[in-house]
């Protein structure tokens, strides 16, 4: 590149709540470094109040996103992939910085992440055909079961797979019509921030995806105890004590909790278990008569 003496424009990294990019209401930031310990950026350190704001946005987002048609949800997810594809280079750089891996590996992760969004986009109008069914009850009734979105899901993204892991957590939550508040990898949040910029320029409903940066141990307890949060995805919670305490908090409103998987393999093709985890089966009966 020519003109190395140019003073670069540095980015101020912010949260992504309700489709906007606010600073943490606490005014706090924390330093993120690369794997060699070099300063990368100051990152907003989300507080409990930020989490609370995110829940309000997520609930609003849920109310419209959950009513969207399956076809529409699929298109919105696919649109995310399209926008991500246009920012591939930036993701690769971000991931390289964040995870200290080779350009090739970072590129592979980026490709996989985008492909995963596409994979889930394709599920939007199919998962209910696979997870739902009609039930042959013993009587003159039609009876069918369909999966519906659980509601507002608070998730912790994996700490070590900054983009693919993040996508693998949020896409299955979104595909069925849930909204999500996700806490990005604490030490590698920049790919998530780049993702939020993609989301802001895609067709995602405002508030439907909220990305917080900071410390899950600080933010999650208030989300786990928040009565308007319906489910927790603890995939990125590595501390067993934190996990246990979050589960205790979750019981206050009988939240569904998906625990951290053991040795997750983000490269592998997912099963439907993540979609299943954040859907509720609704069964409808109606008499059959003339």
């Amino acid at each position: 590149m020519i003109g190395n003496d140019r003073v670069e424009v540095r980015k101020t990294h912010k949260l992504f709540i309700g489709g906007a990019f606010p600073r943490s209401e606490s005014g706090r930031t924390y330093e993120v470094v690369n794997t060699r310990g070099e300063f990368l950026a100051n990152i907003a350190k989300a507080s409990k109040k930020d989490a609370r704001d995110a829940v309000i946005s997520a609930r609003t987002g849920f109310n419209s996103w959950s009513k969207a048609t399956a076809y529409n949800r699929g298109q919105v997810l696919y649109r995310i992939a399209e926008v991500m594809e246009g920012r591939k280079d930036q993701f690769i750089n971000d991931i390289q910085d964040a995870e200290g891996i080779s350009n090739k590996k970072a590129a592979a992760q980026t490709d996989q992440a985008i492909d995963r969004v596409v994979w889930y986009a394709g599920w939007a109008d199919k998962y209910s055909q696979v997870l739902g069914n009609t039930n042959p009850v013993a009587g003159p009734f039609v009876n069918f079961s369909i999966p519906e979105p659980t509601g507002v899901v608070a998730a912790v993204a994996p700490q070590d797979s900054s983009l693919l892991g993040l996508i693998s957590v949020i896409a299955p939550i979104l595909v069925s019509g849930n909204s999500v508040i996700v806490i990005a990898s604490t030490n590698s949040p920049i790919p998530a921030i780049t993702l939020s910029e993609c989301l802001a320029t895609s067709d995602v409903v405002a508030g439907n995806i909220n990305i917080l940066t900071g410390d899950p141990a600080e933010i999650m307890p208030s989300l786990a105890s928040h009565l308007d949060v319906n489910a927790l995805d603890l995939t990125g919670v590595t501390d067993p004590e934190l996990q246990a305490s979050l589960e205790v908090e979750a019981a206050g409103s009988v939240k569904r909790v998906r625990k951290a998987p053991i040795n997750p393999n983000w490269q592998a093709t997912p099963s439907l278990s993540r979609i299943r985890a954040f859907t509720e089966i609704k069964t409808v009966w109606h008499p059959v008569g003339v």
Binding site: G139, P140, F141, P287, V288, G289, V290
Partner: protein
Amino acid sequence: MSSLDNRPAESHKGLLAFLAGLPGVDQVGAEARAAALGTRSIKKESKIWAIDLAISMVDLTTLEGADTPGKVKAMSAKALHPDPTDPGTPSVAAVCVYGDLVYAAREVVGDRIHVAAVATAFPSGRASLSVKLADTKDAVAAGADEIDMVIDRGAFLSGNYGKVFDEIVAVKQACGPAHLKVILETGELKTLDNVRKASWLAIKAGADFIKTSTGKVTPAATLPVTLVMLEAVRDYYQETNIRIGVKAAGGIKTSKDAIKYLVLINETVGDAWLTPDLFRFGASTLLNDLLLQRQKMITGHYSGPDYVTID
């Protein structure tokens, strides 16, 4: 009352709107309710009581081409004294015959029980109004004090409710002092929504009784159909304080079945309807089963077909 068919539809607007506004009947729910009431267990003294009541509600019926004055007279004698071995057995409510045999029945029963005649081109109802009216008047003149008419199901099913209504009005007029039972022939109406509609139509047109069936079409009386008719009668009473009777005819052959109907009445319209004035069974073989059960309840041992009369 000249040409009814030419009467402008205007005069029926209110009726049509009323019928269209009736609440629907959910078939599955109605059948479940009727079936649930059918599981009531009626034992001991309540069973004896119910059997006597059922006997007193029977319209002992013969409606065959082969009917003769002799056959009708024999049946009428049985109607008066159903069980010759037990004079305590109640008489049935009425005998029910074709119009031309009313005289024979009346000869035997005098004015001790009612004589009902089917009329209006029974069972199909396929004749002109003038024939139906003549049929009715003949039967009344011969001594029938109850007329069981059939509605024009063709008119009903084609949506010509006004025609059905007007015919009932006209027949009611032709009945004079005789009570009018209007047969809906629910087996041809097919849906419970139609049963409800036809019940209201008949009641509004002046029926004293609404009756399920001719006995010539299967299915004849069923519990769900009777339930829906009783509901109409109940709701009409709520509105007007007037009690309309219900007759379940055809297909009721056993005491057990008859008691189910009594339970249905009891828990749908209440015990005010537990009288021959407001409920009838149109039946022939039912009576003998009621008598057998009655003998069993009184003597404590099972009876047999040779211990009741065949007529």
